[in-house]
């Protein structure tokens, strides 16, 4: 019986660690690469314009299962951080506007989706997999990174981002 409980606890801890992976601290923080891209309505967004806020820059694709799975938690994350200077800029990796719009109809993200149809920012940001996440501090530097899908509304993550904003 004790053995079964131990196995269950090990399983739960592995399961939890995959869902609630920790942010990797970038030491020392480095200046974020330039990011200036249109959203799905054609409005240009420049990372510089969000100076003073914490920004989650995420690189994602419609064919990336973890990206799709975590999007609802990003909606909830945004709600939980409503009183915090915080912005999500989710950069689509090289797909076309019709492809992305069809996907958004189904998944309904409530945050800003940016289009990079040529993929030029992917090289600038050294992105080699998806989802690749960068947390930018209010001073415009990369403070944390994270590869892979997570539950973004996890209380620990929310606390870390609130602390960064303050």
């Amino acid at each position: 019986m004790n053995k079964s409980v131990a196995i269950l606890l090990v399983f739960l801890s592995l399961f939890s660690s995959s869902l609630f992976a920790e942010l990797h601290s970038v030491e020392p923080p480095v200046a974020a690469p330039a990011l200036s891209l249109p959203d799905t309505d054609g409005t240009l967004h420049n990372l510089e314009d969000y100076r003073g806020q914490v920004v989650l820059v995420q690189f994602w694709a419609t064919y990336c299962p973890p990206c799709i799975k975590e999007m609802p938690s990003m909606n909830r994350m945004q709600t939980k951080l409503a009183d915090t200077p915080f912005k999500i800029l989710a950069v689509n990796m090289g797909e076309t506007l019709p492809e992305v719009k069809a996907f958004l109809e189904k998944v309904k993200p409530e945050f800003t989706i940016l289009m990079d149809e040529t993929g030029h920012t992917i090289a600038d940001w050294k992105v080699y997999g998806a989802p690749s996440n960068f947390i930018i501090g209010p001073e415009g530097k990369v403070r944390y990174t994270l590869f892979g899908g997570v539950e973004w509304d996890d209380d620990k993550l929310i606390a870390q981002l609130k602390a960064l904003a303050n």
């Binding site: 064919y63 990796m93 050294k126 080699y128 990174t145 590869f147």
Partner: protein
């Protein structure tokens, strides 16, 4: 030390229309017996694939038959079953390099030009085989085709160049990479090309539009993936053509 290349165990297992037959040969090594599915052909080229599929692959067999019909002989050794290994990425490390060499040696004894091929994480196996074989038999293999290679050592950390497995960049073999367009790895294929070339390999890359990685092994294949899978033999033949051009330039 290889004991012998045993003869035919069973042949003419499956015929479909005018498609080529499959034979089985068994290669006995000191440690095990390796079953090799052989799709014989009269041509001068032999494609030696390492599908770590426990002998179950369907798309690969169909492709092999099609290639054999066009004169390219195909050998598919079942490396996992030979060592009673599960289909896990970690199993690849337990396959002895010596035995990979024995298979290459047997393939070269046919007198044909031998090309290596593998897909996904299994590409590690042919790079290791090529590296070890070249140490004692330089310039005897004709080239390698890597289908959607997955050769990262760890998950790629955002903002940092990826680290590759140690076998990457250790061979001079001409390499042709086929990668799907609808996979994040498409964005790192140029970086991988440079890493593979560090050992002296001429490396060519072709990104296949509208397909994901593992495109010929997907249960949820879309129309593009079905079409490309049905035409995979043609893609491989094109890859071999460009690899042969590299040999002419050397």
């Amino acid at each position: 030390m290889m004991q012998l290349v045993a003869g035919l165990v069973s042949g003419w297992l499956l015929l479909c229309g005018n498609l080529s037959a499959m034979e089985h040969i068994t290669l006995d090594t000191d440690d095990t017996s390796i079953d090799i599915r052989v799709f014989p052909a009269e041509g001068e080229r032999l494609l030696l694939g390492f599908p770590c599929d426990e002998g179950k692959s369907v798309a690969e067999e169909n492709t092999a038959r099609s290639l054999a019909n066009d004169g390219i002989e195909v050998w598919m050794p079942d490396m996992l079953s030979a060592y009673m290994l599960p289909k896990l990425r970690s199993s690849l490390h337990q396959i002895p390099g010596e035995d990979l060499g024995h298979i290459i040696e047997a393939a070269l004894k046919t007198g044909k030009q031998v090309y290596l091929i593998a897909g996904g994480p299994d590409t590690e196996l042919i790079l290791r085989a090529a590296e070890q074989w070249e140490k004692t038999h330089p310039d005897t293999l004709a080239g390698a085709v890597l289908l959607y290679p997955r050769l990262y050592k760890n998950s790629p950390e955002p903002g940092q160049a990826p680290e590759y497995l140690e076998v990457v960049g250790k061979t001079k073999l001409p390499i042709f990479v086929l990668e799907g367009e609808r996979t994040p790895n498409r964005w790192s294929v140029d970086h991988l090309q440079q890493a593979l070339a560090q050992g002296g390999s001429p490396v060519q890359v072709k990104v296949i539009p509208s397909v994901r990685g593992y495109f010929y092994n997907r249960r949820d294949a879309n129309r593009s993936e079905e079409v490309v899978t049905s035409q995979l033999a043609g893609l491989i033949k094109v890859s071999l053509f460009y690899l042969s051009q590299e040999q002419m330039h050397e």
